[in-house]
């Protein structure tokens, strides 16, 4: 229950942010932190709690973004309804990718490779087919209205992102407190042992990748509505797959707050480096890559692990 309280308190604290933070810069910072934290949470469900490292989460993200765009532009669907349908589409892609690769027992590096390949196939398709706008991409016409999932100011996007963040937290809370989650973590810790205990490893992993895919696709639609443009490289390119795995690894893999923590830390790092060295193409990613290597070398449990390390002895003394 303690973690549920922590989540609720965190969300309540985050609600008044748009009234307290007047600067557009920091509000944008908050929106992007929540956004990357949310993408990270999606990856965390499969990678952190399930131990299945995907290098191709862009497959779900891009499907969500394209589903959102195509439904609006070609079929005139309301963007909020498109959001729901895009989530379903992400879940379907999750089911296909997971169904195929888990059915044939792909683990570890093989799984990472096949997710990468699926994302690449989708990228090529999106780049070649007409209804996805091919190489030109798709642009959503500007019609600011809350009913149209386009807000005049940042606060609207902030609250949308906060609701999605709550959804992400609810998902990992469920994982930490349900039989499904216990099975998932058992699979992560030892697939063979989990199998021996009678856990249907295939079904557990499949459920995790579908949930992860749904959330990631919702993130894709949010991106679309926030920036109003996507192309095949934004949607299915490696950058988004890396962003999704970076936040939980930096923050703390398989922890509830790790992805958000990691996303905030990375956003801060990004802003600091940009103000220090100026924004040059590639430089922020150089920093991200270096952080990834350093975190794995020195902080394999991420920032959350560091906090535990610091809190550990202190806690014992207090008790």
């Amino acid at each position: 229950m303690k973690s549920a309280v922590a989540i609720v308190v965190l969300l309540l604290v985050l609600i008044p942010v748009p009234w307290l933070v007047r600067s557009g810069f920091w509000l944008n910072f908050a929106v992007l932190s929540l956004y990357y934290g949310f993408l990270g949470q999606s990856w965390n469900i499969l990678g952190g709690y399930g131990g299945q490292y995907s290098f191709g989460h862009a497959a779900f993200f891009g499907t969500g973004a394209y589903a959102g765009a195509v439904l609006q532009l070609r079929f005139g669907v309301n963007p909020w309804l498109a959001l729901v349908l895009a989530g379903v589409a992400g879940g379907v892609v999750g089911a296909v990718v997971g169904g195929l690769s888990f059915r044939y027992g792909l683990r570890g590096s093989y799984f990472a490779l096949i997710t990468l390949a699926f994302a690449e196939v989708l990228r090529i398709l999106a780049d070649s087919l007409g209804f996805t706008g091919a190489g030109v991409g798709l642009q959503i016409p500007l019609h600011p209205a809350a009913t149209n999932f386009q807000f005049a100011g940042k606060p609207g996007f902030y609250f949308t992102m906060l609701v999605l963040t709550a959804l992400g937290f609810a998902s990992v809370w469920y994982i930490e407190h349900s039989r499904f989650g216990a099975r998932l973590m058992a699979v992560r810790d030892s697939e063979d042992a989990a199998h021996a205990l009678g856990i249907n490893v295939y079904r557990v992993k499949l459920a995790a990748i579908i949930l992860s895919g749904v959330l990631m696709a919702l993130g894709g639609v949010f991106y679309l509505q926030y920036f109003l443009y996507i192309d095949s490289d934004i949607a299915y390119g490696p950058a988004v797959s890396i962003a999704a795995l970076l936040a939980p690894i930096v923050g703390g893999l398989g922890t509830m707050f790790g992805p958000l923590l990691g996303a905030v830390a990375l956003q801060l790092l990004n802003e600091i480096s940009e103000s220090a060295i100026g924004s040059a193409p590639g430089l922020n990613l150089v920093l991200y890559g270096a952080v990834l290597v350093l975190i794995i070398a020195f902080l394999p449990e991420g920032i959350a692990g560091l906090m535990r390390l610091r809190l550990g002895p202190w806690r014992r003394r207090a008790a």
Partner: protein, 290 residues
């Protein structure tokens, strides 16, 4: 209709590209076979090698083929240092961590290149760049023919080194049984780094053979890395023969795919092969076991 007059040159072109792909994949499969890690930085390191060859030509006027004796040892040294002091240490010996470390390295290298050299594509112009040899059935560009022969020669050389030298024997022993190799006095850390270095040295050779008919750009590695993975998986992880045969198959597939489905959509054939092989035969054509 598409006739033999078009298909035969496409196949020959595919074979020449495939031989260079094989060379890239050879390094990857060697590293996998010995260290049991998938080197996600492989493409980024190939990019570094391509820039190396480019700058040797642009600044010092060294012909790409004459750059071989410079690039191969240089890339070997880079690989050795990376494995011994970065990947080996940061990974803590856990597969997932090593995978992420190589991914992190690829991000650093690619974007550093983007920062330093901008996203321009760079090509070189050589006297022989546009000359061709007549094979009777088709004309083949001279650089491509040289790349084909060169790639096969390097592959044969590497195979001979692995087969007959003490170094090769030690590496093969290490690949098969780490503990046992350690017990008979093999310096594991050193040999891991040697294997990684040799794998990366292959990229140095590949870059010298590639650049006269290709170009250098910061993201060029991406195009190769998935293709190299495909070849390694198709041929069987750790198999030399597999890498060579796989490389040729993929080269021809890509070439024919481009012919029938166009440049952009044609690439999809390679990835479909990749997914299908991973699903139905993850040991590949020549692999021992998964």
């Amino acid at each position: 209709m598409v006739e033999a007059a078009i298909i035969v040159p496409a196949i020959l072109n595919g074979l020449t590209t495939g031989a260079v792909y094989a060379l890239v994949a050879l390094g990857l499969t060697l590293i996998y076979g010995v260290l049991h890690i998938i080197n996600f930085a492989h493409g980024a390191l190939l990019m570094v090698a391509l820039y190396g060859v480019y700058f040797l030509y642009a600044l010092a006027g060294i012909d790409p083929y004459l750059a071989l004796p410079v690039m191969v040892p240089a890339m070997f040294a880079l690989g050795y240092v990376l494995q011994r002091y970065v990947i080996g240490r940061a990974g803590h010996g856990k597969d997932e961590n090593v995978m992420l470390v190589t991914l992190g390295l690829s991000i650093v290298i690619e974007n550093l290149a983007l920062y330093l050299w901008s996203s321009d594509t760079r090509t070189i112009e050589t006297a022989y760049g546009f000359s061709t040899v007549d094979l009777g059935v088709a004309l083949i560009a001279v650089p491509k023919a040289i790349a084909f022969v060169g790639a096969l020669t390097v592959t044969a050389l590497l195979w001979a080194v692995m087969r007959w030298t003490d170094l090769g024997k030690a590496i093969r022993a290490l690949a098969r049984e780490r503990r046992g190799a350690q017990l008979v006095g093999i310096n594991v850390e050193h040999l891991y780094a040697m294997s990684f270095g040799i794998g990366i040295a292959c990229l140095g050779a590949a870059a010298c053979l590639l650049l006269p008919s290709y170009y250098a750009s910061p993201h060029i590695g991406r195009a190769f890395v998935l293709i190299a993975f495909t070849i390694v998986v198709l041929g069987g992880m750790g198999s030399f023969v597999g890498a060579l045969v796989g490389g040729l198959i993929i080269g021809v597939t890509e070439s024919l795919g481009g012919l029938f489905f166009g440049e952009s959509l044609g690439k999809i054939g390679v990835f479909i092969i990749f997914i299908v092989v991973l699903l139905f035969r993850p040991t590949g054509l020549f692999g021992q076991r998964a």
